[in-house]
């Protein structure tokens, strides 16, 4: 079995641990403690750090896009999501992908 597959299984079990624990202690645990507030911060920051890293310094397929293209497509997503559609997630994601495609095609055309 590959390390990737082993990781998937281990991470599945590790994720379920919290869900199962939640069922077990649900009758006697208060969720508005300082510890939970800090843990929530760590989880939010982890994801935010990952997303900003992928946009700024991507690995994998996105290495074939330019920084300005990624930033422009991100701006399109934010404007469509917050300004144009008032928090329509689907519209934000799809318009950003469309913008990225248009920018990639435009650059490929002008290059030759």
């Amino acid at each position: 079995m590959s390390e990737y597959m082993l990781l998937v299984i281990a991470c599945g079990a590790g994720t379920y641990l919290w869900r199962g624990l939640g069922v077990a202690v649900s009758a006697k645990l208060s969720t508005d403690s300082e510890l939970f507030a800090w843990v929530g911060c760590v989880a939010f920051a982890m994801l935010a750090g990952l997303v900003s890293r992928i946009v700024l310094i991507p690995s994998g397929a996105l290495e074939n896009t330019a920084l300005w293209q990624r930033l422009a497509a991100t701006a399109v997503a934010l404007v469509v999501y917050f300004v144009v559609t008032k928090k329509n997630l689907l519209a934000g994601v799809l318009s950003s992908a469309a913008a990225m495609y248009v920018l990639l095609v435009a650059v490929a055309k002008s290059a030759g």
């Binding site: 590959s2 935010a48 992928i54």
Partner: protein
Amino acid sequence: MAFFLTPMDRIDSTGSYRQGARDATGIPALVLAAGYMGFGALAAGNGLSFSGTLLSTVFIWALPGQLILVEMHTLGAPFFAVLLSVMISAVRFLPMTVVMMPLLREAPSRQPRYYAVAQLISMTGWAWAMARFPSIPPERRLGYFFGFALTLLASASAATALGFVAGDLLPPLAKLAFVFMSPIYFLLMLAGSTNDALGRAAIVFGAIVGPLAHLVTPQWSVMLAGLVGGTLGYAAHRAWRRRARSR
């Protein structure tokens, strides 16, 4: 995977399962599918296996953790660093489950069906349930949530597979645009999800620390962004609140 052990007719004598499935079919499933399609394409773009990527949707059933797993593994992070990061990203399920359980049952209970339904809790399903449960009679909620969440899981699994395969079928430039859907999905989820200053502070500091830590140590950057950025955000928010109070 324990939900396969719970016969559906035992929790669905009233058609509540079908009602939940119907409610999920539409915007909730479609939005989630967009995120999972991007994830499938991203994993394919990182050169990972189809079976492992599809299984991650069923086993982990938490897109942030899956993204962390795929990105860290691609960068060659050690096994336990990946596992630890994914587990930290999943801690939120503890308070989410604790909050949701009393709404699913009339008295505290540890019957297997509650452990089964816990596996199906995700951000989308949880948020929907919190909004919808008040208008659903308590005895119908368990069946309703099973129907809702299993529909989400089925469409997300299909989307993962489709995204993975579509990468190969699409022209190269369209594939890149497709892969980009994944980070953008999370960016918008993060930007739109939190209305409180504490969450916003954590997001801002994490977004700054993440790329900086990546320049120093790519394999540990996700964890550093969380621990350093999250703690800085937490401390900054506390300090700011104390100052506002003493004024």
